[in-house]
């Protein structure tokens, strides 16, 4: 297991396979916590409403239950949901965050309980200052509770399914006439390089016309070096169209996941 630039956790399995998980920063975590806090307030409200009825019979019992239940909700909210939804609370679901074991394994109950008990320290002195600082200083964005429990909070990885069909339109991809060269292109291009090309196509309208020309030229040259398509295909093809053809080639066979 190795660390990225504090933004992702790379896990290398004994089989030599590496996969990475993007770590959540303090801001998104804070937002998730705000949603959870709102949920806890709502639960408190429900408890107090229900107990008002009980208070008619016994005020003492209603009060005792109110104290007990509020305590249970305060401690148990995070534990219950993170156990039920394997590392997610309502706030984390909304913010697309998930608690995971620091080695990428399944979360254990003792980890979930511990990281939630540690909130008493992390929330000191106000507004999770200790936890926030720990998160900023820690190389893996861990608050003290995460450190003790051996957990990390990651952003749930979306499986990339770019809306390329619309962008690429129905224009004919002239590269298709050379399936063997297309296969070579797929083999020689790394995932990160594909990402670059896809981003260039997706964000083309955000670029100024001048820089758009130079960016596409640079990217097109880069892919030209990878595989050389015959003159008959590339003749008259603009840099931008070249890149779009490359992207179309790499995404031509969409897999339904």
């Amino acid at each position: 297991m190795a660390l990225g630039k504090t933004t992702e956790l790379k896990i290398q399995t004994p089989e030599g396979v590496e996969f990475s998980l993007p770590l959540a920063g303090p801001v998104t975590r804070c937002a998730a916590w705000a949603f959870d806090l709102a949920m806890v307030v709502v639960l408190f409200q429900i408890i107090s409403t229900v107990l008002q009825v009980l208070a008619i019979i016994s005020g003492d019992m209603a009060m005792a239950l109110s104290i007990g239940l509020q305590f249970v909700v305060m401690i148990g909210y995070g534990i219950f949901f993170e156990w039920l939804w394997k590392g997610q609370t309502i706030g984390k679901r909304i913010m697309k965050l998930q608690v995971i074991d620091e080695r990428g394994m399944t979360l254990k109950l003792n980890q979930i309980v511990l990281r939630n008990l540690f909130r008493v320290v992390d929330s000191l002195p106000v507004f999770y200052l200790v936890g926030g600082l720990s998160c900023l200083l820690s190389s893996r964005a861990q608050r003290l509770g995460d450190l003790a429990a051996g957990t990390l909070v990651v952003r749930r990885k979306e499986i990339a399914e770019p809306e390329l069909d619309e962008l690429l339109g129905d224009e004919v991809n002239s590269f298709r006439e050379f399936p063997r060269l297309e296969a070579q292109l797929r083999q020689r291009v790394s995932a990160e390089e594909v990402r670059l090309a896809v981003d260039a196509v997706l964000r083309r309208n955000e670029l100024e016309s001048k820089s758009r020309l130079s960016v596409y030229k640079e990217i097109a040259d880069f892919f030209r070096d990878k595989v050389e398509f015959p003159e008959e295909v590339t003749h008259g093809l603009s840099d931008e169209q070249y890149v779009r053809n490359v992207v179309a080639t790499l995404f031509e066979r969409k897999m339904k996941i």
Partner: protein, 336 residues
């Protein structure tokens, strides 16, 4: 080298689908145990998907398939390497009667540190009062206003006061439980400060109890004091020490004395024990909260001896429980 990616996917996809289906089934029924054949098949599929992922990463730049396989492999990896936490059946009774006392004994030195710190604090509190009685107000927090006056005056007042079993007793009991459970796990959690926070907390609690005890003893109210504190204190104070014990265990793991293991590994090793100690202490606090609310505050001179007797029995039972619970010999005898 994959020359024909389409053919490769076509060939491998049934294996990926099978792995995905197995993962889904395990996800839907986390407590289900795989048969040996299933587990072997699962491992085979995981290794196959891993190897496919390596091929895709090395020889092809297909983002979608790479992401899909990464996701599949990550899930299978966590499933395959998970320790049998979810699978093992948890027995609350066995946990309480065996695991808890065993864990307590395993870390008895940490308990000694915790208890010792409290005693030093108590000695300090009492000593300071011997030196300067005016300091009493500094040692007893404002929330215990009824303890600020002269003990004998309070005793006289309490003994005249009619005890009402129903007036706010349940509320009092619930707030005691919540507060005391919080204190016990706070003592554990503060261990993350290399034990410093735990030591401070125990010392502070010690000074308070020491000052109160001295105050009552010096005023000749030792019987009242025992009758008042023993019924719940015989459980509540040890529960705080056990919370502190967990804090000391955590603090020691932070330092890493006597081991070559890395911090992460050290923490991993003690995690179940921390939780067991805190959960055990919390259960003790529930009992202590009930006793404190419904019995301890009932001050009738004719009952003092019974209250002291009950408190002593509780303490002896607790010591026996922590000393004998989960021992093989004792368990064998009981099973017979």
């Amino acid at each position: 080298m994959i020359l024909d990616l389409d053919a490769f996917i076509e060939k491998e996809r049934p294996f990926w689908d099978e792995l995905r289906a197995l993962l889904k089934r395990q996800g839907d029924q986390p407590n289900r145990r795989m048969s040996i054949d299933e587990a072997q098949r699962f491992q085979y599929l995981y290794q196959r998907a891993s190897s496919d992922l390596v091929k895709i990463k090395t020889f092809a730049g297909d983002v979608e398939i790479k992401n899909y396989l990464e996701n599949l492999v990550a899930r299978a990896y966590s499933q395959l390497h998970e320790e049998s936490d979810r699978i093992a059946r948890f027995s609350p009774l066995r946990w309480f009667f065996s695991t808890f006392p065993q864990t307590f004994r395993r870390h008895w030195k940490a308990f000694a540190v915790s208890f010792g710190t409290f005693l030093v604090g108590a000695g300090f509190g009492a000593g300071m009062l011997v030196n300067d009685y005016e300091l009493k107000a500094d040692f007893i927090p404002g929330q215990f206003g009824h303890l600020s006056g002269k003990p004998s005056e309070r005793v006289e007042k309490e003994e005249r006061h009619e005890f009402d079993y129903f007036q706010s007793r349940q509320t009092f009991s619930a707030s005691l439980m919540a507060n005391n459970i919080r204190v016990s796990y706070m003592a554990m959690v503060m261990g993350i400060t290399y034990g410093v926070g735990t030591v401070i907390l125990l010392f502070f609690n010690g000074t308070m109890i020491g000052a109160i005890a001295f105050d009552y003893i010096a005023d000749g109210q030792i019987v009242f004091l025992l009758g008042w504190l023993l019924p719940h204190g015989s459980i509540e104070l040890p529960a705080i020490f056990i919370g502190g014990q967990a804090g000391v265990v955590l603090g020691r793991a932070m330092f890493g004395w006597g081991t070559d293991l890395r911090l992460r590994q050290r923490l991993k090793l003690i995690r179940p024990d921390l939780l067991t100690l805190v959960a055990g202490a919390s259960l003790m606090m529930v009992w202590a909260g009930i006793v404190e609310s419904f019995l301890s505050q009932y001050h009738r001179p004719q009952l003092y001896s019974w209250k002291i007797l009950l408190g002593s029995i509780e303490l002896i039972a607790l010591i026996m429980f922590l000393y004998l619970g989960g021992r093989k010999k004792w368990r064998k005898g009981r099973d017979k």
